[in-house]
Each structure stands twice: as structure tokens, then as C-alpha cells.
């Protein structure tokens, strides 16, 4: 497969592994902020190939994991409205809210349907004119422009029963928030590849400038990740802190300007609640007034009930990279993929799910 197989070549991986081993002298911790990277690093056994001087840590990069319990409760409340079809990416189905989950209310009769794309939700609205479709808008800058496009498409096609509940979030503000807690000493950042396709590598310049931390944008193939680590090591060893791109076939400095335009046309920044971190100003996206008739929160009245976190769940600390799943008393005892307590376990990109699935005998 083009643009995939070439970036999985084992001979080139060996070369990068060898270079990293030769060049890495300083003990350093690199943090990634993308659920896709969390999974890829495990799937390709990257940690095994790195010298002991390098520690890889996961940050809050899984959009499902950082969604607050109160937002999940709202999703469930939408699903319980009569005449509403909730369309959602698969990742959200099993996430436990304060009392229930979408999967559970679906089993109780709510019309919840999994989609691969906002376009599928739009078709659903078109095919079911007597119902209202509420699409659960989750994801970072990679996904938000696609949702924005779907709203513009709905407007163009005069589809009146398509709505979005926006839980979209922006990555740079949360990276800043995590760095500002100072909880974890980070020596380099693996910048999210597909978010950067949209935002451009320019989005991370504040990290290199204001925090003096090296940043390299990485793709998701094993060679991308190894090349990223190699470039981070070079920066660390030469005392530089810049933003570089190890995914140049997809990412450039300015990003996808058209996508940024669409995103800003439909959405405006708003404060957002990040699980485990709290409120981060300007880190969320809500629909602009002009598109309020597509805004599920403004069109429907819901009673999500009181929201509370499950006892003993330390997803928040895992998300900030302060603790690993092994530090959690619930990990692999009460909290497993079959019966998850917190979102880090149930999301396919959650740190706990990745540790459980790939960590094997390192389980607590």
C-alpha cells in the first residue's frame, strides 16, 4: 500500500534504532499528545527499541478520554429524547457516564447508531425526515473541520433535522495547561501528526519558544515515530528547542488553510472542561450564533442529571502523565475493557486500554 508500506521497512527502522542508541546520552522524557500515537507506540513495540535513557509518556491525547462526565451524561440524555437518532463515532458507545452509557441506553431502546463519518450522519438525517439526528461531535482539530463541513453541507442541502453536539477541543491550549502544572518534567514533545496537518507545525512554536521544549511532529507509521524520536534526541543533545516535522509528506508550516477557515467559520473557541485537568479557557469549540439551529444544545432541552466521577478512578492523573495505569488500584482488577470504570480503559486509544491490550505481563 502506497505511503504505508514504505514507512514500515524493517531495514530503515534498524538504521533509526541504531542512530538513536548512538546519539542518546541524556536521560529524557518525551510526551505524546495523541491517542493514535499512544496506540502506534505500543503496537510497534517502540519502547523496546529505545535505549533506557528515553522514557515515553502519554498525555491527554485521546478525545474520548478527556471528555467530561457531564458531557457524556448529556450525550445519553440526547439519546433518551423521543424522535431523536443519536449518531456517533464508535469510540463513544461504551464510555461510562455517571449512571449509564450509550450502549446501555441503546439496549434499553434508544436509537443510537454508529457512524464512520459525519457524512453518514447527514445521510441519516436525509433518510429520516420525521426524526432529528444529533451527531456527537468529538475529536480535536483533525475532526472539527469535517464536522464544520458537514454543517455547511446540511445548510447547502437545506437539511433541517441535522444537529451537532459539539464537544470538540483544541490541542495547543491543553498542552499549555499540562506544561503549566509542572507536574511532569518533559524533555520533548511528539506533536500529533494529523492535528498538525490541519493546524500546521506553527501551532507548536509557543512550546519551543516559551517553554524551551523541543517539538517534532510525527506521523503514525513506525518509521515516522522512530524518526521523530531521533530528531528529538538530536535537539536534546545539541541543546536546541525548535519545531521540526518528521511527517513532511502530510504536514507543513501553515497547515490546511481551507480546513482552518471552515472550522473558524462554523465554530468559535469556548472554555471547555477536560477530564482530569478541569476548565481550560479557549480550548473548546462551540457553534457560532449563525449556526445555532444546528446546535443540539440550543435546539433541544435535556435533563442529564447530576454528574459525578466514579470512585477510585484516577483517569485524570493518567491523562496528565502523572501516573501510569499500573499505579491505579482499579486497573485490571475492577476496571477492564469488558467492564471499564473510566474512559481511559474503554476508549480504543485510551492509555489504560493500550496498556491492558499490549502491556501483557506488565499488568499491575
Amino acid at each position: 500500500m502506497k505511503f504505508i508500506d514504505e514507512f514500515r521497512r524493517s531495514d530503515l527502522a534498524k538504521g533509526l534504532v541504531s542512530r538513536i542508541a548512538q546519539r542518546s546520552r541524556t536521560n529524557v522524557r518525551f510526551m505524546e499528545f495523541c491517542g493514535g500515537h499512544t496506540v502506534a507506540i505500543f503496537k510497534y513495540g517502540i519502547r523496546q527499541l529505545l535505549p533506557s535513557s528515553i522514557e515515553m509518556v502519554s498525555g491527554p491525547g485521546c478525545p474520548v478520554c478527556v471528555t467530561s462526565n457531564s458531557d457524556i451524561d448529556k450525550c445519553i440524555a440526547f439519546a433518551q429524547l423521543p424522535g431523536v437518532i443519536v449518531a456517533t463515532f464508535g469510540d463513544m458507545l461504551k464510555v461510562p457516564g455517571s449512571r449509564s452509557s450509550l450502549q446501555r441506553v441503546k439496549a434499553e431502546g434508544a436509537d443510537v447508531r454508529m457512524v464512520y463519518s459525519a457524512l453518514d450522519a447527514l445521510s441519516m438525517a436525509r433518510d429520516n425526515p420525521d426524526k432529528s439526528v444529533v451527531f456527537l461531535g468529538i475529536g480535536f482539530e483533525t475532526t472539527a473541520p469535517t464536522i464544520a463541513a458537514s454543517i455547511l453541507q446540511a445548510q447547502e442541502q437545506r437539511i433541517k433535522n441535522y444537529h451537532v453536539f459539539s464537544m470538540h477541543k483544541l490541542t495547543p491550549p491543553v498542552v499549555k495547561a499540562v506544561l503549566d502544572t509542572g507536574e511532569v518534567k518533559i524533555g520533548g514533545i511528539v506533536c500529533p501528526g494529523h492535528v498538525s496537518v490541519i493546524t500546521g507545525s506553527q501551532a507548536w512554536e509557543f512550546i519551543a519558544k516559551d517553554y524551551g521544549i523541543p517539538c517534532v511532529v510525527s506521523g503514525f507509521e513506525p518509521l515516522d515515530i522512530l524518526q521523530c524520536v531521533s530528531m528529538l534526541v538530536e535537539q536534546v543533545e545539541s541543546g536546541r528547542s525548535e519545531v521540526e516535522i518528521a511527517y513532511s509528506r502530510g504536514v507543513c508550516h501553515e497547515g490546511n488553510v481551507e480546513a482552518q477557515k471552515l472550522m473558524h467559520r462554523v465554530f468559535q473557541p469556548s472554555p471547555a472542561e477536560w477530564r482530569g485537568i478541569g476548565q481550560v479557557p479557549g480550548s473548546g469549540l462551540k457553534l457560532r450564533e449563525k449556526y445555532s439551529r444546528f446546535d443540539a444544545e440550543r435546539v433541544f432541552e435535556i435533563e442529564p442529571g447530576e454528574s459525578y466521577e466514579p470512585e477510585g478512578c484516577i483517569c485524570g492523573e493518567v491523562l496528565r502523565g502523572v501516573k501510569t495505569p499500573h499505579d491505579c488500584a482499579l486497573f485490571n482488577t475492577i476496571c477492564t475493557p469488558q467492564s471499564p470504570v473510566g474512559p481511559c480503559m474503554v476508549s480504543s486509544e485510551g492509555t489504560c486500554a493500550a496498556y491492558y491490550l499490549y502491556g501483557g505481563d506488565n499488568r499491575g
Binding site: 524493517s10 534498524k14 534504532v17 510497534y44 513495540g45 454508529m114 513506525p222 502491556g359 501483557g360
Partner: protein, 347 residues
Amino acid sequence: MPRIICMAVTTVAEHDKILLAHGSGGKMAHELISKSFVRELSNPLLAKLDDSAVVPFSGKLAFTTDSYVVSPIFFPGGDIGKLAVCGTVNDLSMSGAKPLYLSLAFIIEEGFPYEDLAKVVASVKAAVTEAGVEIVTGDTKVVHRGSADKLFINTSGIGMIPQGVNISGSNAGLGDVVILSGTIGDHGIAVLSKREGLSFSTKLKSDCAPLGGLVADMLKATHNINCLRDPTRGGLATILNEIAQQSNVGIRIDEEAIPVREEVMAACEMLGLDPLYIANEGKLIAIVPSADARAVLKAMKKHKYGKEAAVIGKVTEDKPGRVVMNTRIGSSRIVDMLTGDPLPRIC
């Protein structure tokens, strides 16, 4: 009451949809069974329509049952009927048994099109013919609209285990070779491609096939086959984990050795799936002492359902109960069982 009498004397073919009366044991049910099922699947035992089929038997008997709820019921390369036969025939073959007799039970949703039922029965017929088995008893129920999703099928099967054959998931031994009969993921992806909301198209077909003949050829090469399993629901990863746990051994596999079709890889990339966890309906895993591996592999490659057979790993004492994979980039990682169910109703 005139209306009901009227319905009772009309033939099945005049109804294009299955009705509740077709399952109630009365005249319409009898018509359906004799015209559509017995006639199609004709064999003397079934034609007797006794409450039980009585068959001669001696030796060790293998007995299995499975219910089939796949959605959609028609998919590229097969349908629920073919699946229902092959699935149960293969379960028998995995214990080394020669599959002989099957039961066939339908649970039909009221309103199910008769034409579709006829297609499914025709598939059942084709599958039993290829597999060399007979359907000797059956049952038909029709439930209210909404109480079943179109059509559910249950098949149970019995087969005879030849002398000297002792195959079980707990028999894997250290140093044994792990052989896979062909490409993985074909069935699951073929079914997914027809599922609503995922709009991708592919020429990929389900690999649904009866494996009795392949197993017979393998046993002709040697009786020293320790384990046989077909990686259906949960995929290759789950089956290997089950064997590792049952036999309390470690299993190490090589990513590069596992045959996967390009289309399956591509669909998995698009949907974020891993071929290791995707259902197969016409493949098997054989765990064989290393001395016998070459002979078994040779026999498999000669058979139409084993042409792409490959050695994918071996049984080790390292990490008993677990499966470890050597990745293509020179690292290794644990391969766990499927947790949860990302692909509902593939089988």
C-alpha cells in the same frame, strides 16, 4: 372463521412472505417444511420426518452446536445458510472428526420474504453437498415481527473421530509448529463491507468453506496433529490465546509470516481494525510437532482450501498462557485476546 380456512389451503408459494402460521405446526408449516426444506435437502432420513432421526453409530462421537445470527444475512461469498453448515461442520473437523449428520433449526421473523428463505435453503443444500454431510432433522419456528432479526439458524452436528486421533486445545507441546491454512480477515471484512454506515466497497469475498476434506488430507499425512482450531469470532489472536491458555504454553508468531490479503489490510487501515482479531470462516490453525510439520504443510498446500498455508510461529516455554508477536520492525509485543466486541454479529 372463513379467512383462516382460506389461508390453510393455499400453498407456500402463494405467500411471498413467511407468516406466523408457517411456524405453528399446522398445515402451512407442514407445507413449508416438506416443499421447501425436505424436498431441497432430500435424504431418506430427513424424508421420514420422524421426531428424531435414528442413525447407526460406533466409535468416538464428536458433537457440536452453534447458532448463526450474522447480519446482513447475504454477504459477498456466502450467506447465513452456508455459514450455518460450514461453521458446524468445521467445529466437528477441528476435533479431527469426520462430519456426518446435522440438525437444522430456523427461527424466522414474521414477514421474512419467502424468496430469501429459498435462497438460504439452496445455499444450505450446496454446502451440505460439498461437505458430504446430511441434514437429518430440523425445526422451524416463526416469531412476531421484531422478535428476531430476519432469520436465525441453529445447527448441531455429529461426527466420528477416527482411531488414534487425539486433537485438543490442551495438547500443544513445546517446540510444536503453528501452521495457518491461509489469509486472515476475509470473512469479517466482507461482511462489514455490506453493513450500513461504513460505505466502503471491495471485491473481497467471505472465505466461508467446509474444511472436512482439508482436515482429512492432513490426517492422512499424519495422525500426529496436536491441535486444530478455526479462528472464527475473535480472530486468530483469540484462538491462539485460548490454545496457549489451555495447553499452558507460550506461542510466538511472526508478523511477516501471517498471510493477509491487500484488501483486508487496506480495509483494516481505513477502519482502525487489526486483522488478527477479525473473524474467518474457512481457515484453520494446526499445531503440529516439528517433525511432522513439513508433511502436514505439503498436504495442506495440495488442497484447495490450504493453498496459502504457512508456518506462522511456534510453541515456546516463554510466557506460558500468552501469545507474543515478533513485529516486522524487529520488536515484539503481546497479542491479547479480543476484549469487547467491535464487530457485532459477524458469525
